[in-house]
């Protein structure tokens, strides 16, 4: 197959900004979104820092000019905002002009409202409009309806690699001629459900997370939504529109090791990265920057770090995790980091790994800690690894 797939639009909302411009500004100013909990009602307020989207649901509804009487979950609202920005950035005026799909990734789905009203849903007839916002497909369909997508909708749900897998399916559907363009990415809002879930795994840091640091204590959860517009080569040629980057490689591999842990040597991470590299036709030395999954947990950073060493040997490119900025946005993470990867290429920039202090004993490299500007960034490798063993990697290249 000779067909190429291009990124023509990006949209993002997370703890560090409500759009692409604000996101880049926060990155440049080393401004983290990780703070005390403000919007989520939980006993962990003041105890566990998170990166929340800095808007209430009323403000989000206002921003998207939506009908307040409709049952929107928080994840749907941020998804609508990010997807609409991506469509606008791709200068799409008539979405029905070409075969267009929307593939989103989420795992928590509409849990933010389900957990709020669950006792009522079981015991009363109150809030029953939220029965049908619980599942993962609800947000995708509401986002699709908002931006007008009709030809294909689907939702991936592989925990923290969901958004990356959305982009992989989107790319393959374009390459197979099933769709001309795809809006692909992921969404996740914070919930008590998964915050407490991660807390039972004892992998939440009570301080801002320190990815790839020898003294790392775990991750900070975050929320966000991010989408890319992917288009076929034919469509881009026809419209002559500006291409932001090319999606040149992707890989998906399963750890098949343990329900919550990856192998210490990072077998699955390596396999996903290697596959992405092989598909792109690039050499390891062509990669200028690795936007790592780098969650800040003991297990991830060790296995991912080792996998990076195995893949790149003595020529390890610049590596950083941007989780210190955005927190771990779980299902959205692959989308958030894909947008950041595209921004790195567009702005010739490599982003700092915040909060890093101490070199990990097991690794030969340390992450980049400064904002590098005016550097060569032609190829970026972006990793997303989900618990359950779902590892995915994407490569974005300058066009």
């Amino acid at each position: 197959m000779s067909k190429r797939v291009f990124v023509t639009g990006i949209g993002i909302i997370s703890g560090i900004g409500n759009n692409v411009e604000e996101t880049l500004e926060s990155i440049k100013q080393k401004k983290s979104g990780v703070t005390d909990i403000k919007y989520l009602e939980t006993i962990h307020k003041g105890q566990l820092p998170v990166s929340e989207v800095k808007l209430s649901e009323d403000e989000l509804i206002e921003m998207a000019k939506l009908d307040k009487s409709e049952p929107f979950t928080r994840s749907t609202l941020i998804g609508i905002i990010a997807a609409a920005e991506a469509v606008k950035s791709a200068q799409i005026n008539d979405i029905k002009e070409y075969k267009t799909g929307l593939i989103s990734g989420t795992t928590v789905g509409g849990m933010d409202k389900s957990e709020l009203f669950y006792h009522d849903l079981v015991n009363t007839t109150k809030h029953i409009e939220y029965i049908e916002t619980h599942d993962c497909g609800d947000s995708t369909e509401r986002i699709a309806d908002y931006v007008g997508v009709k030809d294909f909708v689907s939702t991936t749900s592989t925990a923290c690699s969901s958004a990356a897998n959305s982009m992989i399916l989107g790319t393959r559907m374009i390459k197979n001629g099933l769709l001309d363009r795809v809006i692909a990415g992921g969404i996740e809002s914070l919930t008590r459900y998964h915050m407490n879930g991660f807390n039972t795994l004892m992998i939440l840091d009570k301080e801002p997370c320190k990815p790839f640091d020898d003294n790392r204590k775990g991750l900070n959860l975050g929320e966000g939504a991010a989408f890319l517009v992917l288009e076929s080569e034919e469509l881009v040629k026809k419209s002559g529109k500006k291409v932001l980057a090319e999606l040149t490689g992707y890989g998906n591999s399963c750890e098949a090791f343990h329900q919550t842990a990856s192998t210490p040597e990072g077998k699955g991470a390596y396999a996903a990265m290697k596959e992405a590299l092989d598909r792109s036709g690039l050499k390891a030395t062509d990669i200028d920057y690795v936007n790592a999954h780098g969650t800040g947990t003991d297990n991830n950073d060790l296995s991912e770090g080792r996998a990076i060493q195995t893949l790149f040997g003595n020529n390890i490119p610049k590596v950083s995790s941007t989780k210190g900025y955005t927190g771990h946005t779980t299902s959205a993470a692959g989308g958030v980091e894909a947008v950041l990867s595209v921004l790195a290429i567009q702005n010739n920039m490599i982003f700092p790994n915040l909060n890093f202090e101490t070199q990990m004993k097991e690794l030969s490299f340390s992450p980049e800690t400064e904002l590098l500007e005016g550097v060569k960034v032609d190829h970026v490798l972006s990793n997303s690894f989900g618990f359950g063993g779902n590892n995915s990697a994407l490569i974005f290249s300058r066009y």
Binding site: T200, L201, M202, H258, Q259, T260, A261
Partner: protein, 84 residues
């Protein structure tokens, strides 16, 4: 001590859902993880919750679990120690 050992065995069987296992089947000094009962890191987290819920003992670092959860006896000794 014997009473505590039996109680812990019963509680472990309950929280880890060890079907068909009787307290008498668990050797007080046999390793719980790896070869012994074949428990893993998720079971360790379950045992941490057990200690917090039933004995009011909070373990902050999951790495501490390794030492504490070696055998039923080490768990009992840890609980006794904390009681003091």
């Amino acid at each position: 001590m014997e009473e505590l050992l039996l109680k812990i065995k019963e509680q472990v069987i309950d929280v880890l859902n060890l079907e068909d296992v009787e307290p008498a089947d668990i050797d007080t000094d046999a390793p719980l993880f790896g070869d012994g009962l074949g428990l893993d890191s998720i079971d360790a987290l379950e045992l941490i919750v057990l200690l917090e819920k039933q004995y009011g003992i909070k373990i902050e670092d999951p790495k501490d679990g390794k030492k504490i959860f070696q055998t039923i006896r080490t768990i009992a000794e840890f609980i006794e120690e904390k009681k003091k």
